[in-house]
Amino acid sequence: MMFWAPAAIALITTALAITRANPVHALLWFVLSLLAMAVIFFGLGAAFAAALEVIVYAGAIVVLFLFVVMMLSLDRAAALREKMFIARPVWTVPVMFVAVLGGAIGMAMFRENLPVMAGRAVPPYDVALKLFTGDLPLVELASFLLLAGLVAAFHLGREAEK
């Protein structure tokens, strides 16, 4: 129950999020999906990841999305045009590709008689210990990446000089 209920919610809300015409509605469905994922992480014994999912994904990333959507100031004409894009039979080919890919991977994952072992919960203490001793280069790489993202966003976001 700790897994299947939030899993169903995550799937349904994600499907709703990618099919909405209004970006704000889609983002709200996406927030719900991320919260369901946080519950799943908690159920899998990854409490720290669950907290990060709520704080960083639902709290920071989606809010960044919402700010940008507000800055775009979408009007009714844009919404109607988007509705027309969705109504067109544009979904058939992607559905085919995705069904084939999913069938292949799913068969490999569930048909084979892979050994099953019960896992164990990983408390935040272990994660912090691993992250700041053995995986310290990863922290440095993450800081490089974030700095590069910051510089790129700042550079691209400036108005072009006349």
């Binding site: 990618i18 894009f85 892979l114 919960a121 990983v122 966003a153």
Partner: protein, 102 residues
Amino acid sequence: MTDWRDPAGLALALFLLGLLGLLARKNLVFVLMSVEIMLNAAGLLFIAAGMRWGTPDGQVMFIAVLNLAGAELAVGLVLLLRLRGRLTTLDGDAANLLRDAP
């Protein structure tokens, strides 16, 4: 404790939903959101693998994926705003020229 294949299957389903959105939608807001869905599914798979083997490596990689998602989204959203300012549309297909049309 859950069987590790349940979250792995969920990660697969979410990744495929994100891929479907990426392929089918034209609006760049939805394209970026689909990329986020796919990254999130990858993070779920890392967490499930960490639970399966009982090591913290899965959560460490999840933190790395989170960083990647944040950096990617910042640059992506700025590019989206620039495109909107230049072409006055969010249609990804509109940006098919390397420079302005003569």
